[in-house]
Structures are given as structure tokens and as C-alpha cells.
Symmetry: C2
């Protein structure tokens, strides 16, 4: 006698989204990526592996290299190049983090002291350069000129996005469009490139390259929006950094952009004093969080993230259903749900 | 009636060596390199061209890109790729300078305020990253995988050399070999790569690639040795930086390595106090310069430079005599003679 299992849509929807699907899917290849990361941070100059390993071993999710492996898999790629490109993507990301910490004067990164606090800004700048160079070497070993073009263009666009963020820093006149342009560059471009090289390696048509790129770009935007919401909403322990870092640094993120527009003149004077002039007193962070909550700008930032997440998921619609596509869709839900 | 011009060997030898030969030889191509440099520093993010142009327009000799053009010419290269690779080499160099100024806390560069003094360390780090990315994009456009391998490896080796210098900073136990390993990485590797890609583009055999690489490597070592000698010997106006910068930063260069070994215990205590502990008082720079002079370590640093310069010139012996080879040899004499 067959057992009839009742269909429970509520249980299915309420299960916490996770990245277990993609983790399982790419596990074997990620072991090779991790071995490559370890070997390519090696150097006779002992400070290099020390600094690099401090950050690399600090428990990032390695989402970006997993995306390269998964999109290559989605496109039926059979070769070895995806492992090297995935490691290159992670090195580009790590180099960016090392340089960002110097640019932002950050003290913490992933719940540990930032490398620059232990080895100084000098080492963070130079080891970042080393990792960026190693990233290019690995890409070149793969020898695919289109993939090289995509990833080197990403390196340029990321730097442009970071400089644009610097130029917009402390400027409360920043619009939502300005903000979007910054995060497309500084964050989403690497997600897009990481996903685009998968179909490129597999020799798939432009349509599929564009679909994977769109998935990565929109996922990256959603990811950064949630990150910016979490900066005012999560707990220090969960985030691996302190709540209110963006506030203290005068970073104009979407929760602020919206609150500035929705607030009255007194509130705008508050934002200008804290973010433009950097005059932050006891209790100001609490007031900022209360204003963001009052104007529902954290909730709406999450809503905006959902929008980009939906675009990311729809972009994959041209690929056949299957475990890889499902795993990539779960990644979007996981990223958006981090805000809760 | 024919006019007999007397042969005057003294006049020929005593003529100040110059880089006029190479400048004339590559003038047409350098105009294209300069146009490319200008166009590839462009960005909608206006801070990028501002920072990049500040340094690029500050009158460096652009020796490295000229070397790429000249070695390509020496090897009979007829294509267009050398212009892009030359611009890439200059971008790699400029990126390194921007990052170096941050690492060294430099206030001056080429007689102007360092970019970081005008736009901050953040901009110097990020615009450096932008230029490095643009360098890779240009190389990739050329599409020669061997040249890509050489230049990306150089990027890694340069960063390693810079970190090695950082690790050796303020350490008076640094040996001449340690010092040489550092300058091979941080300076000579880019000269070597700039020269090696010429024959690679021209599809010349390994022997000629190795010869051009050796020329560049030894020229680069000589160049840095002279630079380090000049730091204690030139005038601020000539150098575009302040005399004694290396001393104040605790940099252990060859004049110091030799003076430490040739000095007595009292002198070593002086070097340790100034360079290791950074306790520099009024008159200490003058004493340092007097000690270096007393032990003839500036003169001997120049002698060592002559040795590497001779190796560089001999490396070109496998190429036929002609204006290009002569121009490259003049570059060596010019670099070594800067010390006077």
C-alpha cells in the first residue's frame, strides 16, 4: 500500500533558504579550488602567505568561485579551466578586500582583526597586488581570451566603482541611481564576471553568456543591498563586523539615501552633520537606526533586493530545469533572506 | 678639397651619455603610446583621470615603454602590439608608484606633491588598481599569451619584491644578496619584462628573448643602484624628491649595507638607532652622508651599477650592430652616469 504524503506548500516556503545545494554540487571542484588557493598564496617572502592566509582562512563562504563552477556546470563544461578561473575570482575578491580595508580604515573583517591591523596598511596594499597578479597568472594559464577580457574588464570596473564610492562618500545628495551605479561596479560586476566565464569556457552562445551575466549582476546587486541593510540591522557577531560601520565612515548606502529623501529638514540636518561633517556624538547611531526604522528604509532596501533577486532568478529561465539551476536559484533566496 | 675632420677619442668618450638615441628611434611610436595612455586613463569617474594624469603628466622619462618599443624594433617586429604592451608597461609602473607612495608615506614624487597628499591614500590605492586593470586589458587585446605570461608574472614578482623590502625594512642585518633580491623584484623585473616582450611579439627564438630579458634585468639593477646612491648624493631639485628620504624611512639600501659592514661598533650603533629604531636627530643625516663618503660606499654602489650595466650591454652582443642596439647601449650609460 502506497503512503500518500500530504503536499504542504507552507512548509516548503517556510524552510530557511540555504546554499547547501550549490555547496554539494561543486564540493569536489571546490576542494581543488581551495588547494589551488593555498598553493598560489605561497611565496618565499613569508609575509605574503601569512597575510593572505589570515584573510582567506577566516571563513568567507567563497560564494563567487562556487558561482563560476556552478555556471560552468550549468553549461555542460567538462574541462579543467573552471577551477583556475574560480580561484582567480576568489583572489580578485580577496585583493579587493585587502585594499578596501585600507581605504575604509576598517578594524575588523569577518569577525577577525583586519590584516592591516596586524601587518599594517603597507602589507595589505602589497599583498593585495600580489594576489591580483596571481589571479591574472591563473587566468592566463587557462588561455581563454574572452574569459580574460571579461575578468580584466571586471578588475577595471571594480576599481572604478570603488573610486566612485570614494567620490560620493559623505555626500547626502547621492541619489538611488548614483548608489546603484556604485554597487554595480564595486560588488555586482565581480559576481557578473564570475558567472559569465562559465558559459564562455563551455563555448556556449552569447544568449547564455548574457543570461549568466545577468544572473550574476542582479544577484550581486541584491547581495550588496542586503549587506547595506544588515549594517544597520544585524548583530556584530553575525556580521563579523560592527553594526553602524557604514554610519561611522559616512558611507551613503540605500537606507540612508531613502531616509534623507523621506525625512524633514531637521532630519536632513542630522544626516548632514553625522555623515558629511562626521560629527557623531553618543546616541547618534541609535537615532539613525530609529530614523531608518521610522521611514521603513531598511525594509524597503530589502524589498529592492528582492526585486533584483527576482530578476536574477528569471535570467536563468532559458536553461533547462535541474539541480544546478535550482541550486543557483537557492543562492539568490539565501542572499536575500540574510536580512532576517 | 676634402675637409679632414680629426678623430678625437677624448671628445667622444667625454660627451655626456644621453637617451637621445632611443628617444629619436621610437618617437613616432611613443606618440601613439602617449595617446593610448591618455585615452585609457579616461573614466566617467572624474577622480580617476585627475589622479592618474597628475602622476603621468609629471614628466617621467617613460623609459620602460621606450624599452619595449626599442627591443621590438631590434627584433624586426612590424605589428601594432608593441604600442599597447608599451602602454601596459607604463601603467604597471604608474600603478606601482601610486601604491609605493602609500606604502612609504611619501610626500613628494617627481618634484610634485605625491597624489596621496592631494587626493588621499584611498584614491592612490584605488586608481593604482584601476591602472593595473587597464594594463591587463591592453595586454589581453594584443592577445599574445606568452607576453601575457611574462607581464603578469612580473606583476607578481614586483609585489613580492615590495613585500620583501617591507619585511627587510629597518633591518641592518640585511646582506648585499638580500638587497639584490629585493631590487631584482621591485625594480629590475619590470625592466626585464618590458624588454622580453619585444622579441616575443616578433616571434624570435628563446635565445633572443633571454638576451633582451638579461639586458633589461641588469639595466634595471643598475638603475636602482644609482637611484639608491642618488638618494644620498643628488640635490632635491634634480631628484624630484628629498635627499635622505631613504634614510628617514629606514630603507636599507646598498650604501647602508656596505657602510654597516665597513664601520666600527660605534657606527653600527648609529645606524641601528637611526634606521632600526627611527630615532633621527638634527645632524644625523649629515653624519650618515659623511660615513657613507668615508667608507666610499656611494662610489662603490656606482661601481656595482657599472658592473650590472656592463652585463646589460654584453647581453645585446648577439644582435647585429646598428642604431637600435647603439641606442639601447646608450641607455645603460645614461642610467649609470646619472650619479654624477
Amino acid at each position: 500500500m502506497a503512503v500518500v504524503l500530504p503536499f504542504d506548500p507552507v512548509a516548503e516556503v517556510s524552510a530557511a533558504p540555504s546554499i547547501e545545494g550549490i555547496v554539494t554540487l561543486v564540493r569536489a571542484d571546490m576542494e581543488r579550488v581551495n588547494a589551488l588557493i593555498l598553493s598560489r598564496t605561497g611565496s618565499d617572502v613569508t609575509m605574503i602567505p601569512e597575510v593572505a592566509q589570515h584573510l582567506i582562512s577566516s571563513g568567507g563562504k567563497r560564494l563567487r568561485p562556487m558561482l563560476t563552477l556552478a555556471t560552468a556546470d550549468l553549461c555542460g563544461y567538462q574541462g579543467e579551466g573552471d577551477v583556475k578561473l574560480a580561484a582567480s575570482v576568489e583572489f580578485m575578491h580577496t585583493a579587493t578586500l585587502l585594499h578596501d580595508d585600507v581605504v575604509d580604515d576598517s578594524e575588523m573583517r569577518r569577525g577577525k582583526l583586519a590584516a592591516r591591523m596586524l601587518w599594517g596598511n603597507e602589507a595589505s596594499v602589497l599583498v593585495g597586488d600580489f594576489l591580483l597578479g596571481q589571479a591574472f597568472r591563473m587566468m592566463i594559464e587557462v588561455g581563454n581570451l574572452t574569459a580574460l577580457d571579461i575578468l580584466s574588464t571586471a578588475a577595471v570596473v571594480i576599481a572604478e566603482g570603488e573610486v566612485a564610492q570614494l567620490a560620493a562618500a559623505k555626500n547626502t545628495a547621492t541619489s538611488e541611481d548614483d548608489y546603484l551605479a556604485v554597487i554595480r561596479g564595486k560588488t555586482a560586476e565581480l559576481f557578473a564576471a564570475a558567472c559569465e566565464v562559465g558559459p564562455v569556457l563551455a563555448g556556449r552562445p552569447k544568449l547564455e553568456q548574457a543570461a549568466c551575466r545577468s544572473y550574476g549582476m542582479n544577484l550581486g546587486i541584491a547581495f550588496q543591498l542586503i549587506d547595506d541593510a544588515l549594517d544597520y540591522g544585524g548583530s556584530g557577531a553575525d556580521l563579523g563586523k560592527n553594526v553602524g560601520d557604514d554610519f561611522r565612515e559616512g558611507k551613503i548606502t540605500l537606507p540612508i539615501v531613502l531616509a534623507f529623501r523621506r525625512g524633514d529638514e531637521e532630519e536632513r540636518a542630522f544626516w548632514r552633520r553625522c555623515l558629511e561633517r562626521g560629527e557623531i556624538a553618543e546616541g547618534d547611531l541609535e537615532r539613525a537606526i530609529a530614523l531608518l526604522a521610522g521611514h521603513k528604509t531598511i525594509a524597503d532596501t530589502v524589498e529592492r533586493a528582492r526585486h533584483y533577486g527576482a530578476m536574477a532568478k528569471d535570467a536563468l529561465g532559458i536553461f533547462p530545469a535541474g539541480p544546478t539551476r535550482s541550486a543557483l536559484i537557492d543562492v539568490v533566496d539565501f542572499c536575500v533572506s540574510r536580512a532576517h
